[in-house]
């Protein structure tokens, strides 16, 4: 355990608060090796000169260094005004109550620490403790928002509010996957992941500071062209047409994706990243829905064909804007329901978080693809041959879908039916561990941040996967990690590649629908391609 005095976050020297070394990290499973030395590739000297990198030797935000003390002071002032707004109902009615409860009642007993995969994987590095960033905000809250005097400081502690502290806190807000596993263990019900979420909001909504990948190239691009992938409606239709052709050839079935069908039963919302990175996933959906005789459509309306909603992770306004556009697209098509594809955060965004924003005609029922697929499989409409999936399969539980939405069993019911060698990871279900790519990390790769993702935030999932396949690690046995979430798949693709799991152990990752189609007897055998992609 590396102890760092919390007051050092205000330290002015340019050295990072901590330098993470490989030998301090949680040991890897036996089959994987790791040498000594720094855990991350050294940051580019130019980045270090120009950007705030004072936390831990990596840099997620590329936050420019202020040029003068006056500029620093102005930024600190802005940060403080943002923090004050967090505690007003006019600015933060969305999360004021849970935030207040956490700020005022966390006993700082550290029960949550051991539940955090990042803290554990880092070898219990103090800065990654779930309470570390919360404690900084708490001290700012009691001192500056509640204007506490000397007595308050004895009760709540003190902290120097200066630019180095604010800059470090900005980075710290992006060292949490927002998986809320810590909140599950809190005896009081405090929620340190919420604190990270709220801090991200201060930085984005007041200071205009956020991760480029989730703001500029994420929600802003989605609102501008329709998708964070950059696909406009014409491009997405082209790509889907191509996928339909591929799928028709691959399956031997005639596959056609319907567009803008008014009055359809379902508007299907895919994470558009699937269309480009894993086309077999939307393709497999089309195969299943058509084979089951479901009435469905996709929408070519702006934003209506990309289920992502990155605002969920950092900005309430961006979140609301995208959620409303999703609902509006469904309303315009007069569909009966929205079917959310294999994307965890899209599930939670539209089904749970946006629920209270979508009233009247916009309150169109949202249904999880896990549930719909379970019902299709159970109905017997698809002829399935489980022996086509006779290889070891394990299931990753996307946090947003499982712990934060309670969709746990449908995907398991399917796997038990179609995958004879299905085995669970431990722990699983609502007590799962995040893949390490949650809250936007899967798409973030500035500087050496990917090292942090693979060495620290993804380490626990790596251990879980290796353990789940512990009895069959031999590379002659192909193995499949079923991850019904686009962001989780993105993290697994990069994580497995970094640790060479495909070459060493033939461990592949993919979605649930691919396994279902692979088992369909009406489909040509070999839908699942055992090749790294």
């Amino acid at each position: 355990m590396k102890n760092v005095d919390i007051r050092n976050v205000s330290r002015r020297d340019p050295e990072p608060l901590v330098q993470v070394q490989k030998n301090e990290l949680k040991p890897l499973p036996g089959q994987l090796e790791q040498g000594d030395g720094p855990a991350f590739t050294a940051l580019n000297p130019q980045t270090m000169e120009k950007c705030e990198c004072g936390l831990d030797g990596t840099c997620a935000l590329n936050l420019p260094k202020p040029k003068s003390r006056e500029e620093e002071d102005a930024l600190v002032k802005k940060f403080l005004s943002g923090v004050e707004k967090l505690f007003t109902k006019e600015n933060n009615w969305t999360f004021l109550q849970p935030l207040l409860l956490t700020m005022e009642h966390c006993t700082r007993c550290q029960t949550c620490s051991d539940s955090c995969h990042i803290y554990e994987a880092s070898g219990r590095n103090e800065v990654y403790r779930p309470t570390f960033r919360s404690e900084i905000l708490r001290r700012v809250y009691f001192k500056h928002v509640k204007q506490g005097g000397a007595l308050s400081r004895l009760q709540h502690g003190d902290i120097e509010l200066n630019w180095p502290m604010v800059a470090r806190l900005a980075e710290l807000a992006y060292r949490c996957n927002l998986c809320r596993r810590c909140a599950q263990t809190c005896p009081i019900g405090a929620d340190n992941a919420l604190v990270a979420h709220e801090l991200r909001k201060v930085f984005s909504m007041e200071m205009g500071i956020s991760a480029k990948e989730i703001h500029d190239n994420g929600s802003m691009k989605q609102l501008k062209v329709g998708s964070s992938t950059g696909m406009n409606p014409a491009a997405v239709k082209d790509n889907i047409e191509f996928i339909d052709e591929e799928m028709s050839e691959k399956t031997g079935l005639e596959i056609h994706t319907p567009w803008d069908v008014e009055g359809a039963e379902y508007l299907v919302l895919h994470n558009a990243g699937e269309i480009l990175a894993w086309p077999e996933n939307p393709g497999a959906f089309a195969v299943i829905l058509n084979a089951a005789g479901v009435s469905w459509t996709m929408s070519s309306e702006l934003v209506g064909y990309d289920s992502i909603n990155y605002g969920l992770w950092y900005d309430d306004a961006q979140f609301a804007r995208v959620a409303l556009k999703h609902a509006q697209a469904a309303k315009n098509l007069k569909v009966k329901k929205i079917l959310i594809g294999e994307c965890g955060h899209a599930h939670k965004a539209l089904s749970v978080i946006a629920d209270r924003l979508l009233s009247g005609e916009l309150n169109i029922p949202r249904e999880s693809s896990m549930t719909v697929l379970r019902d299709i499989v159970a109905s017997g409409k698809l002829k399935l041959d489980p022996s086509r999936n006779n290889f070891p399969v394990t299931l990753h539980d996307p946090c947003n879908l499982v712990r934060l939405m309670g969709v746990v069993e449908p995907q398991r019911e399917i796997l038990r039916q179609i995958a004879p060698q299905f085995r669970e990871m431990e722990p699983h279900g609502v007590h799962n561990y995040c893949c390490g790519g949650g809250s936007g990390f899967a798409i973030m790769s500035p500087n050496n941040f990917t090292d942090w993702r693979f060495q620290i935030s993804g380490r626990k999932k790596l251990e879980q996967v290796m353990t789940a396949f512990g009895d069959c690690l031999d590379p002659s046995i192909p193995k499949y990690v079923c991850a019904p979430c686009s962001n989780c798949k993105g993290q697994m693709r990069d994580l497995f590649s970094y640790w060479n799991l495909w070459d060493k152990h033939q461990i592949l990752y993919g979605g649930l629908v691919e396994l279902i189609v692979n088992a369909m007897t009406d489909v040509k055998p070999g839908f699942l391609e055992w090749a790294w992609h």
């Binding site: 004021l96 849970p98 005022e104 984005s204 629920d355 924003l357 009233s359 069993e409 609502v430």
Partner: protein
């Protein structure tokens, strides 16, 4: 000067007044907390599974109604028995701590359970005092005495153990302020003073003390250490609601209104949210487009990537 004035017989008067004040300030503080949290706007859903009021077959694996096809057409399950089966062991036995932080449970459980016993003793004594000379009242005092003694011992031991942990555990260094030490230390000290005072002084029957307290009969004599313990305890009692120690209030909200609040949108919720959408945010980042005049509804329906003239 005032110390001298209140020495001797008048010490009891001071003890009683402090107890009354402590209880009053405690109640006022707790009510204030409840009002503070219950007056905050209804937040966006932020539930965390497992949610124990779900249907029993789903609680087992932590599932939600989202697992059901067309769940919105079905009657919503709210299973009070499920909630109670979670809440009772959590409140009485600190089940969560037992599960996730066993080392702390060994310290925290005796402390909290000791406090419960002391509350039980106070309630029983109060009822006994009201019943006056009835035999049932005497029996209540006997039970109350057992509760009080075991409560004092457990709270003193648990409080001392928590104090020691705060003082010595390097994991807590960043998260321990003087206030934290005072909080648990004062509890332990108050209990210890009452125990020592009762053991070394002339022990007054609990029933007589309760009756005197109820009737403000200040002629009763209390051992000095007991008086000190009671006065310190009263001060702590009044101080609790103004610190994080009011988590017994907070816990209702964190569980029922955050973790377990899975209520789907309905007319009542929609009406409340409609009001919040008229609030005028003042966030400064340009992409928000908040100027203190535009409402949340305006902000949420604005596309920041479209030029203002096009937006209109």
């Amino acid at each position: 000067m005032w110390v001298r004035k209140y020495r001797g017989e008048r010490m009891t008067e001071l003890v009683f007044l402090l107890i009354y004040a402590g209880v009053l300030v405690f109640v006022v503080g707790c009510v204030r907390r409840v009002l503070q949290y219950s007056r905050t706007p209804l937040h966006l859903r932020w539930e965390l599974y497992p949610v124990p009021h779900e249907a029993p077959e789903r609680v087992k694996h932590g599932g939600s109604y989202f697992e059901e096809g067309e769940y919105w057409k079905k009657e919503r399950h709210t299973n009070l028995a499920g909630e109670l089966s979670f809440m009772i062991p959590e409140m009485l036995l600190l089940k969560g701590l037992w599960e996730f932080n066993r080392k702390l449970w060994y310290r925290s459980f005796p402390f909290h359970f000791g406090l419960y016993l002391l509350i039980g003793a106070a309630v029983l004594s109060g009822i006994g005092a009201m019943l006056g000379g009835f035999a049932f009242g005497a029996a209540l005092f006997a039970v109350a005495r057992c509760c009080a003694w075991s409560g004092l011992v457990l709270a003193a031991l648990g409080g001392t153990a928590l104090f020691w942990r705060r003082l010595t555990d390097p994991e807590l260094r960043n998260y321990t302020n003087l206030g934290d030490l005072v909080n648990v230390g004062a509890f332990a000290l108050a209990c210890a003073l009452v125990i020592l005072g009762s053991l070394t002084g002339v022990l007054m029957p609990l029933g007589a003390f309760a009756r005197a307290l109820f009737t403000f009969d200040t002629s009763v004599k209390l051992p000095a250490m007991v008086s000190a313990g009671l006065m310190l305890g009263s001060v702590i009692l009044g101080y609790i609601p103004y610190t994080h120690m009011a988590h017994f209030v907070a816990k209702y909200f964190t569980y029922h209104e955050v973790r377990w609040d899975d209520t789907p949108n309905n007319a009542k919720i929609a009406a409340r949210v409609a009001e919040y959408l008229t609030y005028r945010p003042t966030w400064l980042a340009p992409h928000i487009g908040a100027d203190g005049l535009r409402t949340w509804a305006d902000v949420a329906t604005t596309n920041p990537t479209v030029a203002p003239e096009v937006r209109k």
